[in-house]
């Protein structure tokens, strides 16, 4: 039985992570070959994830690490040898 678009969307996240079984993957692949919409939904979802996961999107505030280790150093001094 061929799967429909909605069914494909339900598995997009797992598909991207390589977490769908062999059989389901083959069904989704067959669907993607003929369905422009699902191909575009898959490509755009994957693209969105790659972009927001880029290290430049979420950066620690400037000086975060320095301030953290300074505070830690003070704590260590207080807690004795």
């Amino acid at each position: 039985m061929r799967i429909d678009c909605k069914h494909v969307w339900e598995h997009i996240s797992a598909y991207i992570d390589g977490e769908v079984g062999v059989e389901l993957r083959a069904e989704i692949d067959a669907h993607l070959e003929t369905c422009e919409i699902c191909s575009a939904v898959l490509d755009s979802t994957r693209n969105v994830v790659v972009l927001y996961a880029d290290g430049r999107v979420f950066e620690l505030p400037a000086g975060f690490s320095e301030r953290l280790h300074e505070r830690l150093e003070k704590e260590m001094e207080m807690s004795g040898p």
Binding site: W9, S39, L60, R71, L72
Partner: protein, 210 residues
């Protein structure tokens, strides 16, 4: 940099710190700094508060290091301390907020239909040089309901696996997968239509763009 944990290095470090080489704690905690901060940022939604809570978390980890049993990864343990710190602060700040946090559950319905497109031109990572794009992505994630935001931050942004994310957030692996799927669908829907403008123009390289 997203540092992957190294269990052998960590176990050795912890043994030596507890035996008196305190300075090693600086190295031990380094790979946890980013996820601790971003998890707290996701919970508290305020930069200054998240930074203060992150420092407090790290001090608690240092003071309680002897309690780490090595049953989970060190980073997982560290993140559960961060989560408790964040939730404790929320509880103190506003008890009503806590109710609203619990209100959203995985059983709740919702529309997770993606944005329907007929074609997609890839937006390359190079486009992130435009500050506007990074801002748009941050805003979209910030706009997610908290239970989805936490999972996106740990799974996709800090690149933690399903098991570790589940342990750090105190939820099941199934819940991590459902939430991540929904979060990505919501993000695709809100971002895909707006991202189109960042794709390179067709034929531009060859001077054929219209």
């Amino acid at each position: 940099m997203k540092n992957a944990p190294n269990p052998e290095f960590e176990a050795d470090c912890i043994r030596r710190i507890l035996a008196g080489e305190k300075q090693l704690f600086h190295d031990l905690i380094r790979s946890c700094e980013r996820p601790i901060y971003f998890l707290l940022m996701s919970i508290l939604r305020n930069e200054a508060e998240a930074e203060d809570a992150a420092q407090e978390t790290v001090l608690k980890i240092y003071r309680n290091l002897q309690l780490f049993r090595g049953e989970s990864q060190f980073r997982t343990w560290a993140l559960s301390i961060a989560r408790n710190e964040g939730l404790g602060r929320l509880r103190k700040a506003d008890t009503r907020r806590e109710d609203s946090l619990d209100a959203l559950s995985d059983d709740q319905g919702g529309d997770f239909t993606p944005a329907i497109l007929t074609s997609w031109r890839e937006v390359p990572s190079k486009a992130l040089e435009q500050k506007e794009l990074a801002g748009m992505l941050r805003q979209a994630i910030d706009g997610l309901p908290e239970i989805y935001r936490n999972v996106v931050l740990l799974r996709d942004i800090e690149e933690m696996d399903v098991r570790e994310t589940a342990a750090a957030l105190g939820i099941t692996e199934g819940a991590v997968k459902v939430r991540l799927h929904r979060a990505r669908a919501l993000l695709q829907r809100s971002l895909a239509p707006r991202l189109k403008g960042f794709a390179p123009k067709r034929g531009k390289l060859f001077g054929l763009g219209r």
